[in-house]
């Protein structure tokens, strides 16, 4: 099969990679770069588990062909914070009990991150709209909304740097 060479920035690291034209961005991230924090829930852009930030926008990485990401700047959950140094949103999700099975969590946290970058003080309706592309089957969303509210307060105090 024909291979294409692409170059992209993932979590602040430059990556050069050979892929087939039909490779999806999610496959590139998971299979080629071992960034398995990005999850596949439906493969149809419905559930949001595969959400990543690409050139500053939220995308469903199952709907983006990897060649389309040539030259792109991408942030996955692995690029947000580490176990030693959690992002304030990750801390808030832990403290609010917003994590159950955890499968939606990476996408949900990235959606929250993107929302708060654009609108640092969203009201409840804006929070709901901000995570409307991400399904959670365990929590009923209430604690996720509480976690994002807690993040608002935390982020306005500490500037942990924007996702690139």
């Amino acid at each position: 099969m024909t291979k294409l060479k692409i170059e992209l920035m993932v979590n602040r690291k430059k990556r050069k990679i050979e892929i087939t034209p039909s490779t999806r961005l999610i496959d590139l991230l998971r299979d080629d770069l071992q960034l398995t924090g990005t999850k596949e829930g439906c493969g149809k852009g419905e559930c949001g588990a595969c959400t990543v930030i690409m050139n500053g926008e939220l995308v469903a990485s199952c709907l983006v062909l990897a060649p389309q990401a040539d030259g792109a700047v991408i942030t996955t959950i692995e690029g947000l914070g580490s176990s030693d140094h959690l992002d304030p949103i990750q801390e808030a999700f832990i403290e609010s009990g917003a994590v159950q099975c955890g499968f939606c969590t990476p996408g949900m946290i990235l959606a929250a991150r993107r929302l708060l970058e654009e609108n640092p003080h969203p009201d409840e309706e804006e929070i709901k709209r901000g995570i409307s592309g991400n399904l959670c089957r365990c929590t009923g969303y209430q604690k996720i909304i509480e976690a994002i509210k807690l993040s608002i307060a935390r982020l306005s105090k500490s500037d942990s740097g924007k996702a690139k």
Binding site: G41, I77, L86, C101
Partner: protein
């Protein structure tokens, strides 16, 4: 211990891994030289398999091996309550729903496996497709399994139903139907398997809600001792009952033994919807009697649960549903019958509530209709009939502790600010 933990915020042990993306779910486990599986599924919901032509698929570069029923004559059926599910449907055998497996394609990549599955040619002899449990219960309906389409019948009797209806001033009789529901855990069925030639041990990284039952069922199906099946439970991406049944497990084990290489199988969401369990659709006929003062006197329930092509937890779900036919309300005279029925629909199994959720739709509707016809406030009607300590359930269990239904109703009214129905 209680002082240390109760009323304190305790972090989930794996929460840090879950927020950083480090938590490993079955699909996140990779091995060098790993092969990918894809399952060829039934092409018709009720049919005899007459021909399975693998030749084109086998010639596709990257296909390592295709396993069909002819290769595994020693492998036995599996199932949670009844061993009625075939691992692979063989020539001359029946496919009973669209999720039945016909062949396991093993390939070097996901793409090749998916392409190869489409190259498998299937010929079938079609049979009548039974999608309605009432049709399945007809005397002249074709049999989906040889012992009959009614898999289980359960009865319930408490008090004297005739006397109960004689005491009633009002009797309401209605039929209710509920639909199929998928649990839609955010992660689909997925797993990885490895076979160790030296020890003969198969190791599976796969989600299950019944670790030891799953291990025993895989072992009996493959004709191996339980010690040869090792299941490592990775992080589970939701289950809600859907992961009680075997899915990828036996197919992974067979492919691992066959190839001696690590193997991975991930369902697509569509495949998960078609092949894996559902909430039972119920047909409920409820006949309820009450006095004009608003006290329940008799409740008769007729329940049909569509368990689809295979039993799974069906008999337990359906009869448990019937036991809850009166909901949390005192009724001295109860009679019920519940049928668990095979159809050619996707099989139904455990899902949160285990049969009681379907019944709630019927009994709460009955309560509203009765209250309305009696001219009694429906909240008051529920309160004066609700269980308390000492109440007995339809199957005769005396409730001795933790009966919070009255407080729950009062608190719900309070929180909702409900003042009564607009007349």
């Amino acid at each position: 211990m209680s002082e240390k933990y109760i009323g304190k915020d305790i972090l989930k042990v794996d929460v840090q891994d879950k927020v950083t993306g480090k938590a490993l779910y079955p699909d996140d486990i990779y091995f060098k030289d790993m092969l990918y599986l894809k399952i060829k599924r039934a092409t018709y919901p009720h049919a005899y398999l007459r021909k399975l032509d693998l030749s084109k698929a086998e010639k596709l570069p990257g296909v390592v091996r295709i396993i069909s029923a002819a290769d595994i004559p020693q492998v036995k059926n599996f199932g949670l309550m009844i061993k009625d599910q075939p691992v692979l449907v063989g020539i001359g055998q029946k496919m009973r729903y669209m999720g039945d497996a016909l062949a396991i394609v093993i390939a070097e990549s996901k793409e090749v496996a998916s392409k190869a599955v489409k190259l498998i040619e299937v010929e079938v002899e079609k049979l009548e497709v039974i999608s309605d449990p009432l049709r399945a219960m007809d005397k002249n309906a074709p049999l989906i399994h040889q012992d009959g389409n009614i898999l289980a019948t359960h009865y319930l009797e408490k008090g004297d139903i005739k006397m109960g209806f004689a005491e009633a001033d009002l009797i309401v009789e209605k039929e209710y139907r509920t639909s199929f529901l998928d649990h839609v855990p955010l992660q689909v069925e997925a797993g990885v398997g490895i076979y160790d030639k030296k020890s003969g041990v198969i190791t599976l990284w796969v989600a299950t809600q019944w670790l030891h039952d799953t291990q025993a069922d895989i072992a009996q199906s493959l004709g191996l001792s339980k010690e040869k099946i090792r299941i490592i439970q990775p992080v589970i991406g939701g289950a809600f009952g859907k992961k009680e049944d075997i899915s990828v497990h036996i197919h992974l084990a067979l492919a691992a033994i066959e190839t001696k290489r690590p193997v991975k199988l991930i369902y697509s969401r569509e495949e998960s919807m078609i092949a894996q369990s559902k909430r039972h659709p119920f047909i409920i006929r409820a006949k309820t009697g009450a006095t004009k003062e608003g006290y329940l006197t008799a409740w008769q329930a007729f329940v049909i649960g569509d368990t689809g092509a295979y039993a799974s937890s069906g008999p337990a779900v359906v009869h448990k549903g019937m036991y809850h036919c009166t909901g949390p309300y005192n009724v001295a005279n109860v009679k019920g019958v519940a049928y668990t029925v095979y159809t050619n629909n996707t099989y139904a199994g455990a899902m949160r509530g285990f049969g009681t959720t379907q019944m709630a739709f019927a009994y709460e509707s009955q309560m509203d209709i009765l209250a309305h016809q009696l001219g009694i406030n429906p909240a008051q009607f529920r309160l004066q009939n609700a269980y308390e300590i000492g109440s007995s359930t339809p199957n005769g269990q005396i409730l001795t502790h933790s009966v919070g239904v009255k407080e729950t109703i009062k608190e719900a009214l309070n929180m909702a600010g409900w003042k009564g129905e607009a007349q």
